[in-house]
């Protein structure tokens, strides 16, 4: 999608009363490895002849990516959260076909004056607000868990029974891994087996699970405020501990290995989340979801690596994932699951955690 004329034609189509529609500063931006992300300024004159201008983000499905997810569902989630206490950018249009830009896409408002890149959190002008940002991050995570999706009429989401949340997610990611793996992946498959044999207790509440809620997927500002939660493409209903364990996992600590999300000590992060969600973090259940987080991450990396190997994408960071991150994830799983075997020669089967 480098053709500004094609983008302009699309906006002429969705803004039939607009005249002098023009696209300025169309550029692909870094981030969002699962989708192509483009920024642009749209200018037009409205029906009254008044000049209008708006910053927009286009999230375009490429031929392949880290994930194979449902863009329509993501758009419905953005719309469904508008006006709630969970900040999201306004979702403006969804185009399900490839007619205009070669693939499905959605158009969001661009929230200016913010940053998403986690590494920037630790440098000026953001460094002084990291702790506040951390508290907001986990507070919003708790609000997502508390969001009343039944009252909001989210019929587009399939709700599992509390005792089935873990089973459905594990089966989903096992299937993703089986479809995309290019080699045996013994560590990940052993982890799946262990998780299945030692399930967690039922979810305390069947809640909205963002699916990729972490530093890197929120828009933050200099004051440490979270201005928007992004990348809802893996959103589903399930056990809210799935999100908390994902947010806190070592992958998203950005070199600050003692801090959940790179921003807050884990105990404080859990307290903020518990306060906002009204739930408690059960240690046994949380341990299960911690191991599951590594399996899920492995599913994402394996999918991206396979798509690169098959020539479906030329995103070079996916090749890097294939060479490094799959081994990183394996190492984390070995440290968790091989520990009791090493300690006692396997005298006890141990738990998932």
């Amino acid at each position: 999608m480098t053709d500004a004329a094609a983008v302009t034609r699309y906006f002429e189509h969705v803004l039939p009363d607009a005249v002098d529609v023009a696209v300025h500063d169309l550029r692909r931006i870094v981030g969002g490895a699962s989708r192509q992300t483009w920024s642009l300024d749209l200018a037009w004159r409205d029906a009254a002849g008044e000049p209008r201008r708006r910053g927009l983000i286009v999230r375009l499905d490429p031929g392949a990516s880290l994930l194979d997810t449902d863009r329509a569902l993501e758009f419905a989630v953005y719309r469904g959260l508008a006006g709630s206490d969970i900040p999201v950018p306004e979702a403006l249009w969804f185009e399900p076909t490839g007619t205009w830009l070669g693939g499905p896409f959605l158009v969001l408002e661009r929230v200016d004056g913010c940053e998403t890149r986690p590494q920037r959190m630790f440098a000026e002008p953001y460094a002084g607000s990291v702790e506040r940002l951390g508290r907001r991050l986990f507070e919003i995570g708790g609000r997502i868990a508390a969001f009343d999706w039944r009252a909001a009429g989210w019929e587009f989401m399939d709700a599992p029974a509390p005792e089935d949340c873990w089973r459905r997610e594990l089966a989903h990611w096992e299937r993703v891994i089986e479809v995309h793996r290019s080699d045996a992946q013994p560590v990940t498959r052993a982890a799946i087996d262990r998780l299945r044999r030692h399930p967690p207790p039922p979810a305390q509440r069947v809640a909205v699970v963002h699916g990729d809620f972490r530093t890197g997927n929120v828009l933050y500002d200099e004051a440490g405020a979270v201005r928007g939660v992004l990348d809802w493409e893996m959103c589903h209903l399930g056990d809210p501990l799935e999100d908390l364990a994902w947010t806190c996992m070592p992958n998203w600590r950005w070199g600050r290995s003692e801090l959940a999300g790179g921003v807050l000590p884990p105990a404080e992060a859990h307290r903020e989340w518990e306060r906002a969600s009204g739930l408690r973090v059960d240690p046994g259940a949380y341990a299960w979801w911690e191991v599951f987080a590594h399996v899920k991450a492995q599913g994402i990396w394996i999918t991206g690596a396979r798509n690169f190997a098959d020539g479906k994408t030329r995103e070079l960071n996916l090749a890097w994932i294939a060479t490094r991150l799959i081994a990183v994830e394996d190492r984390a799983l070995i440290a968790r699951l091989g520990a009791d075997a090493r300690r006692d020669g396997g005298a006890g089967a141990g738990g998932a955690g």
């Binding site: 013994p186 070079l316 081994a327 020669g345």
Partner: protein, 153 residues
């Protein structure tokens, strides 16, 4: 064969990375293009570091996994998993084909599948069998060694 000419493949890969940084990088105008270039350079340097020792490392790993599997067979037979032990014996008896990286990868993949089968058997029965508990520990130790080859500490 260009790969064994001088400069050799490692030097060529390192040279390509340097050329991209020095000649192409300054010409790029967007953050996205610069991030793609950075990924290309990182990959080239990684390949340069791996290229010379890749086949040797695979051969060593294959030998380690074969040894782990051979050590597991008696415990499997004693625990009543004779079918699995028989499949291991047949796999371990297969002659080496050649030293192409693709051939070595296929061999290692077959061995890893067998290692997983043994590990899952041992995970289920470790509490009831001291010998399978030891097999389980050996499998995890092997997975840790294999991981260390892919991701040096």
């Amino acid at each position: 064969m260009a790969l064994i000419a001088r400069p050799d493949a490692t030097a060529m890969l390192e040279g390509m990375a340097a050329a991209l940084v020095e000649a192409v990088g300054p010409e790029l105008t967007t953050d996205y293009a610069r991030s793609q270039l950075a990924s290309a350079v990182t990959l080239l340097r990684y390949l340069a570091g791996e290229f010379d020792g890749a086949a040797q490392s695979r051969l060593e790993e294959i030998a380690e996994v074969e040894e782990t599997l051979a050590g597991a067979a008696p415990a499997l037979i004693a625990a009543g998993a004779g079918d699995l032990a028989g499949r291991l014996t047949a796999l371990l008896a297969e002659p080496a084909a050649d030293a192409r990286l693709s051939t070595l990868a296929r061999r290692l993949d077959a061995l890893d599948e067998a290692l997983l089968a043994v590990l899952l058997e041992a995970e289920r029965a470790a509490a009831a069998s001291t010998s399978l508990a030891a097999v389980r520990a050996a499998c995890w130790a092997q997975l840790e060694r294999s991981n260390a080859r892919r991701l040096p500490r």
